[in-house]
Amino acid sequence: MRRYQTRLRSIMEHLVPGSQQAEDLTQEVFMRVYRSRKTYQPQAKFSTWLFTIANNVAHNAIEKLSNRKEVHLSETPSGTFPTRALENIAKDASGLMPTRVLARNEQAEIIAAAIQSLNERQRMAVLLSKFEHMSYVDIAETMGLTTQAVKSLLARARVRLKELLSPYMQNGRDHFEMSQDQGTGQSDDGD
């Protein structure tokens, strides 16, 4: 459990709103793993099994949430939960650029918003690929899709991320790099 809890919670945080809910769902995943431990087949990868359960738990939670709130699906591609639009965050930040580079927390907020602007399936595929380093075959098994579908899902998601994040990585050395350099240089002023 210790091996997976932080990783699982990080993924949940990008899938559902609020860190408390992410923690509750992480706990729910472990409870389900415990309950269905007898059905686990040792020849299957444990991580694939665990994230399949996580995918189901997150999907159910998102669906419940969207049913409850009757959200307007056209407004967010994910149709999941209202989030601070990337455009707004970017607008806030652009007022400060390029004279002031983005602070580390703004950077994280923009990246997180970019991830949240993906639809539910793209987001899950990105998280499994990026943070769990899963192969397309494993992602397909976890999400119940074909490998071909995962391939196009990830391609679309990464192109979208590139489009959203490209304003922050122009002119060779991007604003994020500068921000990170400043972070490591113990200065957060950014001027």
Partner: protein, 451 residues
């Protein structure tokens, strides 16, 4: 003007294909040959190289997201939850053990008395709600199902229409065994079933009861009436399975489609919507079944055209079938999906020229976009063009009869093949492996249906 549009669409199509290739390359998912091919292109195409660089760069940015560590209390509380559940699970089988040691006998006796009293009190507390659960068990177990079923007429029509995917109904008998206990039960039988339930089943039942109670009184009464009507229906087992299947199907459609469908009150309009959603679903599946070069925008119109074509030809093909094959097909497939199965069967027996005459080919071109027509025109000769067109038609038929296959299903299928056939799939690149195995699977599947 149209040339300009066509060039733009070509460029967009190529850019999408390149992006998929670049991403798979970055993820190490290309075969050696594919990687080599791409690396050659990268060395001569600076734009492509730039796209690869920005894809990697934006991907690397994700590494800078902070990771919050979970504190010790989270681990502890999860473990406590697990222990609590385990204790609850074992409560029934728990036996009180008496110690033989006389010096603690008095203390143990006292403990046993208090345990008995607590247990008795707990049973007393539980008895009332359990009695209620037992009385309504049959209804409560499926009360959530009635939430998505507007009326008995709807279920009857759903059963007759056969609009839901064929493969699901093929498992009908198996589902009937595992899903629902439908025979009317006495309260004592229900009580016994309640006693036999494990904690998870009980919690599930409780949560169904709670959600039912959250519904308005009118809705609760409607569901109860629907239940009574269904239980008295001569085909109640079949209709219950259809209801389960409908609920399962609802979970496979988009949330916006679901909201629209459940919000519609007119029966005819509901079925129009179901047919529309099914057609969209089939078109999506068509994009996933097999690796065809048909552009995504062509999938839906092409799929609709195939539907017309197959319906027109079906009767002719049926007459050409041997009697025993015809009987098998009629017995094993539903009326709606039979033409597709027969058409697929014929694609293995007749040549593309026999199946696609000049008129049909022209009709097909008229529904295709210029991009799709270009793909056909790029083929070496007419035989190759017809071969490709036939593979599109066959895939559209398969999308209507089969859901897409996962790699796990492909592995399972591979294991069922005799060793000499398994050898045929060795030494193939992963992409070829999937494609060839998928083709073999569908051919076997279609052969099973007719033989």
């Amino acid at each position: 003007m149209s040339n300009k549009n066509s060039n733009e669409s070509d460029a967009e199509f190529n850019a999408n294909a390149d992006d998929a290739l670049l991403v798979a390359y970055l993820d190490g998912e290309l075969s050696d040959a594919e990687s080599l091919g791409l690396e050659r292109r990268l060395s001569s195409e600076p734009d492509l190289c730039e796209r690869l660089y920005s894809l990697q760069k934006s991907w690397d940015l994700l590494d800078s997201l902070p990771t919050k560590t979970i504190d010790h209390s989270f681990t502890r509380s999860t473990i406590e939850l697990v222990i609590e559940e385990e204790l609850r699970n074992s409560r029934r089988s728990k036996q009180i053990r008496f110690s033989w040691a006389a010096r603690v006998a008095a203390a143990l006796l006292l403990f046993a008395v208090s345990v008995s009293l607590s247990y008795g009190y707990a049973r007393y507390q539980q008895a009332a709600p359990h009695r209620e659960l037992a009385n309504k068990l049959e209804f409560l177990e499926i009360s959530d199902l009635y939430g998505v079923i507007p009326s008995i007429e709807f279920l009857e029509r759903l059963n007759e229409s056969g609009v839901l995917p064929e493969t699901w109904f093929r498992d009908l008998e198996q589902l009937q065994e595992e899903v629902i206990e439908t025979a009317p039960q006495s309260v004592s039988q229900s009580r016994q079933r309640l006693e036999d339930m494990n904690m998870e089943q009980l919690l599930d039942l409780r949560s169904k009861k709670d959600s039912l109670e959250k519904e308005s009184k009118t809705e609760q009464v409607r569901r109860q009436n629907l239940h009574l009507q269904l239980m008295q229906h001569p085909q109640h087992e079949r209709l219950l399975t259809v209801a389960e299947e409908f609920k399962r199907w609802l979970s496979t459609i988009e949330a916006s489609e679901r909201i629209q469908l459940l919000g519609e009150e007119d029966l005819d309009k509901q079925f129009e919507l179901i047919a529309k959603i099914r057609s969209r679903q089939e078109a999506r599946y068509f994009g996933l079944v097999g690796a065809t070069a048909l552009p995504a925008k062509d999938v839906q119109p092409f799929s609709e055209w195939v539907e017309q074509l197959v319906k027109l030809r079906a009767e002719d093909y049926v007459n050409r079938l041997a009697r025993n094959v015809r009987q098998n097909v009629e017995r094993r497939t539903s009326e709606r999906l039979r033409p597709y199965t027969i058409f697929l069967w014929q694609t293995r027996r007749l040549t593309p020229r026999q199946l696609i005459d000049q008129q049909t080919y022209q009709d097909m071109l008229s529904v295709l976009s210029s991009d799709a027509r270009n793909i056909l025109n790029q083929q070496e000769d007419e035989d190759k063009r017809l071969e490709l067109a036939l593979s599109w038609i066959a895939n559209a038929c398969r999308a209507k009869t089969n859901p897409p296959l996962t790699d796990v299903e492909l592995f399972d299928y591979l294991k069922t093949l005799p060793p000499e056939r398994q050898l045929e799939f060795d030494d193939l690149s992963p992409q070829e492996w999937r494609q060839r195995l998928k083709e073999a699977y569908y051919l076997d599947y279609e052969r099973d249906l007719v033989q």
